[in-house]
């Protein structure tokens, strides 16, 4: 039996499909987290579905490799699941989860550095309906040349489409700090990318 034949919550043992008794799915993140804390693993499906894409793309922004990003994002869900027992439900889930993904990503980067494997081909990660390969490559290089605090706000703003307020909550920083960090990060990117934008401007600004 292939994994894709399985519905979440079903388990295969020795070729037998064991269906679980189904409870009503959680209606909110808080309810799902509460149920997971109380031992209902199925309720975690709600959390995973809500955050899987975000988790994957956050990890991808740090490690630049699709397979590693998938592995790290899933590992982050496992870690969060185990940590939930001690998690205070009065706190927002996502900032805590973001920290887990970030830590796992940086652990991974440290290991990759010590193993000295070949870094992945960075521009393959970025897509654009308008800008050419050269601009994407330059942009990605510039983003990754930014200091970590600036890089994080750029990734969260443009690749997670978070508002300033959401970025501030995620990173646990004041709104004003986020505004000025983003302002400086954007100014730096605009400056270094100006030649590319001008060159490709004719078809880029249509």
């Amino acid at each position: 039996m292939r994994q894709s034949d399985l519905r979440p919550g079903e388990l295969v043992m020795g070729g037998l499909r064991l269906a679980r008794a189904r409870k009503a799915p959680p209606q909110s993140e808080l309810e799902a987290l509460g149920r997971v804390k109380a031992g209902d693993t199925e309720a975690y499906h709600f959390i995973v579905s809500t955050y899987m894409k975000r988790a994957y793309f956050i990890a991808l922004g740090f490690v630049h490799n699709q397979e590693d990003a998938l592995d790290i994002s899933q590992e982050a869900f496992i870690k969060a699941f185990r940590g939930l027992r001690a998690f205070d439900l009065k706190r927002p889930f996502f900032p805590w989860f973001y920290e887990i993904i970030k830590n796992l990503s940086f652990d991974h980067l440290r290991r990759r550095k010590t193993r000295q494997t070949v870094p992945p081909d960075i521009p393959l990660v970025l897509e654009s309906s308008e800008e050419g390969w050269e601009t994407r490559q330059a942009l990605w290089k510039e983003i990754n040349g930014l200091p970590l605090d600036q890089r994080e706000v750029i990734l969260l703003r443009y690749f997670q489409q978070l508002s300033y307020q959401e970025i501030a909550e995620t990173l646990g920083k004041p709104l004003g700090t986020i505004m000025s960090t983003l302002h400086y990060a954007k100014a730096r990117l605009r400056k270094s990318l100006a030649p590319h934008f001008q060159r490709e401007g004719d078809h880029g600004s249509r």
């Binding site: 292939r2 994994q3 894709s4 399985l6 979440p8 919550g9 388990l11 693993t41 975690y44 499906h45 995973v48 579905s49 899987m52 894409k53 994957y56 793309f57 991808l60 922004g61 699709q66 397979e67 998938l70 592995d71 899933q74 590992e75 869900f77 496992i78 699941f81 185990r82 393959l124 990660v125 970025l126 897509e127 654009s128 309906s129 308008e130 800008e131 601009t135 994407r136 942009l139 703003r157 443009y158 690749f159 508002s163 300033y164 505004m179 983003l182 302002h183 954007k186 100014a187 990117l189 605009r190 990318l193 934008f197 401007g201 880029g204 600004s205």
Partner: protein, 153 residues
């Protein structure tokens, strides 16, 4: 003139948030009022807006749809495997300790077995245990890696 200069400096700081649609009504009005009167800020605004358009079109490459379809099953399996691994380890440790204790006690208390044999058995047992754990862990690691082959369709 002085008020105009202050306005100019203030608007320069707010422009980025203005382009992002993150300003309140009052600040937005200040920026818009200044933009219509200041060609320099207007130019800056247009460049920022262009940057936003370019960034708005940039996305990360999405993995195949199947990755999302199998995502929960994958996480769930990993969770279960973790629990299974803990139970297996606990059971194995209890059994190994009990069996090892019984066998060793019998061997060590047997006066007919020479000392060198007793020492050899002890070493062989220790080596065997290390190898077993190592092989088991390697097999689990390989299975973990193989799951991604199924995902990449």
């Amino acid at each position: 003139m002085e008020a105009g200069k202050n306005d100019h400096e203030q608007v320069r700081k707010l422009l980025s948030a203005y382009v992002d649609g993150e300003l309140g009504a009052d600040e937005r009005r200040t920026v818009e009022g200044h933009l219509s009167a200041c060609p320099e800020c207007q130019k800056e605004y247009e460049e920022m807006a262009r940057f936003e358009r370019v960034m708005g079109k940039m996305t990360f490459k999405s993995p195949p749809r199947e990755v999302w379809e199998l995502y929960w099953v994958s996480v769930y399996n990993r969770l279960e495997r973790g629990i299974g691994w803990i139970l297996l380890s606990l059971g194995a440790i209890i059994l190994a300790f009990y069996g090892g204790y019984k066998a060793l006690a019998g061997l060590l208390h047997d006066p007919a077995v020479p000392f060198i044999i007793k020492g050899g058995v002890l070493l062989a047992l220790a080596g065997g245990a290390v190898l077993l754990v190592s092989v088991l862990r390697e097999r689990l690691f390989v299975r973990k890696r193989e799951r991604y082959k199924e995902i990449e369709i």
